[in-house]
């Protein structure tokens, strides 16, 4: 039982990380229709940025998180400006930005590999290593911190989209670009901010995740895959869907790995199987779109 409860805490933490990456996908996907496979790279770059900032810059880990998010926001914004905006303005289809971002993914990855000599770097969480127990619930400091930070971020985004004029204009663009432009919403600005915000969120996910393992270039691909799997599972129409999808995915993975009577390697098949199942059976995910108002 204690075993299960401990698993729940760490699975929830993993689910939160997946959920944040899914949110990064969602932020770009909703207003532009583009799926950005480079989201995983952004997470990895965020982790590297935090490592540099806290190791060389000497900033405490808690400050390294927003600093890394800021660095990545700038990178995300630059990416949009360099590779996506020209395509959108030329009227290229949805596929072109997806492919351009795939090219950027490769460039990011190589830049990181070129810039860092070691394979792995350690990154401290803001509260260091240690365990806490709330009655039966037990987990590492970092696990609890991830859950808390993620909940705060999602509440923030939820309020932003539901309660602010700015958030509403994002939603308007997501629903109908042309109509939104006619309403006087600045499409360029919305798109640029989506990319900057998505990169910052992905970076946060990377920084939060790294203390549980290490900072390494290889972390990007699994995060990219788990992120879009979580996105499809939760449904692409609502912000909460990203978090829900992430949690469902992480629980499916962790419970299978721990309890299913199959080799642990085969448990890696859970993510693709879930993804295929959802795409074919429930392509809109768990959470349906809200009725249009």
């Amino acid at each position: 039982m204690a075993d299960l409860l401990e698993l729940l805490v760490s699975a929830t933490a993993s689910g939160c990380v997946y959920g944040l990456i899914a949110l990064a996908y969602l932020l770009v996907l909703r207003p532009t229709g583009v799926i950005n496979f480079a989201s995983g790279e952004w997470a990895m770059m965020g982790a590297y940025a935090a490592y540099v900032i806290s190791d060389a810059g000497g900033l405490p880990p808690i400050l390294a998180i927003p600093a890394a998010a800021l660095v990545l926001a700038i990178i995300g914004w630059l990416t949009e400006w360099l590779t996506v905006r020209p395509l959108v303005e030329r009227g290229a289809g949805h596929l072109a930005p997806i492919l351009a971002l795939l090219g950027m993914l490769v460039i990011y990855h190589q830049v990181v590999l070129l810039s860092f000599s070691e394979d792995q770097y350690p990154l401290d969480g803001p509260f260091g290593f240690g365990r806490i127990e709330f009655g039966l619930l037990a987990g590492s400091y970092q696990d609890f911190f991830i859950v808390g930070a993620t909940i705060a971020i999602f509440i923030g985004f939820w309020l932003f989209f539901e309660r602010t004029v700015w958030g509403r204009s994002f939603e308007a663009v997501a629903i109908n670009r042309r109509a939104a432009a006619l309403m006087g919403i600045n499409l360029r600005m919305v798109t640029a901010l989506s990319f900057a915000g998505a990169a910052a969120i992905a970076a946060t996910a990377g920084v939060l995740d790294s203390p549980r393992g290490s900072v390494e270039a290889n972390m990007s691909l699994p995060l990219a895959v788990q992120g879009f799997s979580a996105l499809i599972i939760g449904g692409i129409n609502r912000v909460e869907g990203a978090l829900l999808g992430g949690i469902v995915l992480a629980f499916a993975e962790d419970l299978t790995r721990r309890y299913a009577p199959i080799p642990s390697g085969l448990a890696l098949g859970v993510t693709p199987v879930l993804l295929i199942t959802f795409l074919l059976v429930l392509p809109n995910g768990i959470l349906r779109a809200k009725e249009a108002k």
Partner: protein
């Protein structure tokens, strides 16, 4: 007649070259043929039929593994193992596409990516059947009339697969079927209104090209008499996508140019810069998408077209 000479000439050159090359270069050459063959069929699937599938390498792997497993573990003779492996790839491709073709755009990419991932998981965990992460090794093609097929002869086999693939796809591309595929790629709704059975056409394109990939994979399996999971993984599936786009998606020539160029880039640069030649790949991709979505072939056409237009203007 002219066509027969051209094809015969191409075949002859492709078959003579491997005998003239030193061993290492011969190996580079035949692996390049493998990539070109895959790029040609992938171009039909992605560039012409408009399906962004990421399962092409998985099907090459299904062909490779199946033929090896049938021969070494089930004792099936080669001539029977080949059609069985192609048939299995065809059935699997049919099932995957039957399920997946109602997914559009990147949803199809995600579904086929998941399929490709699953394939690797199964290879890794397949125990004695697939040899696990190490794959299957040290098997051999049976002697054919007392003759051992190896080295450059396998390059010839790959050249034949490549030419067959190309001839087949060129024919159907220039027919009603190729037009139906392009029409669906450009506008599925209008294609249906013109009487094109969208689902059937898509399934056919996916199944045909996947079987072609399996065919190339089968020959590849005997290059080094080893098959292992990483070869058929996601990285190479994306590489294929890059080749087709950089060369010029939708163009057969583009697929060939893209595959040859990126293979050469890798083989020539790798000794000097290690794996950082991959950076060039990313830059090429971004530049091509931004500058000329029709790829290098499109850039070439632009240059030639401009020159021609200039000449026309120069005439009084």
């Amino acid at each position: 007649m002219g066509a027969a000479i051209r094809w015969g000439g191409a075949a002859l050159i492709m078959c003579v070259v491997p005998f003239l090359l030193p061993l290492y270069e011969m190996d580079v050459y035949r692996k390049m043929l493998f990539w070109v063959a895959l790029a040609i069929s992938y171009n039909f699937l992605f560039g012409i039929a408009g399906q962004m599938a990421l399962s092409h390498f998985a099907f090459a792997g299904i062909g490779a593994y199946t033929v090896v497993i049938l021969m070494t573990q089930a004792g099936v003779p080669l001539l029977l193992a080949i059609p069985l492996a192609l048939g299995l790839a065809g059935i699997l491709a049919f099932i995957v596409s039957f399920a997946a073709t109602r997914l559009e755009g990147f949803y199809l990419a995600l579904a086929t990516l998941a399929f490709a991932q699953l394939f690797i998981v199964i290879l890794d965990e397949g125990g004695a059947l697939t040899g696990g992460t190490g794959g299957l090794t040290s098997y051999k093609l049976p002697l054919v009339f007392g003759f051992e097929i190896q080295g450059p002869w396998l390059a010839i086999a790959m050249a034949l697969v490549l030419l067959l693939t190309l001839a087949f796809l060129l024919r159907i591309d220039r027919s009603w079927y190729g037009r139906a595929c392009r029409a669906i790629r450009d506008n599925g709704e209008a294609a249906a209104a013109m009487g094109v059975d969208v689902k059937r056409t898509k399934i056919m394109a996916f199944t045909l090209t996947s079987v072609m990939a399996a065919g190339a994979g089968m020959v590849y399996a005997f290059f080094d008499n080893t098959v292992n999971p990483p070869v058929f993984g996601l990285e190479n599936a994306f590489m294929l996508l890059f080749m087709v786009i950089i060369g010029g998606s939708g163009s057969h020539l583009g697929a060939i140019v893209g595959a040859v160029l990126l293979r050469l880039l890798q083989d020539m640069l790798e000794p000097f810069v290690g794996q950082f030649h991959v950076m060039g790949l990313g830059i090429l991709m971004v530049v091509v998408i931004l500058v000329q979505p029709k790829g290098l072939v499109g850039i070439w056409d632009d240059l030639v077209g401009r020159k021609r237009a200039g000449r026309r203007k120069a005439k009084p």
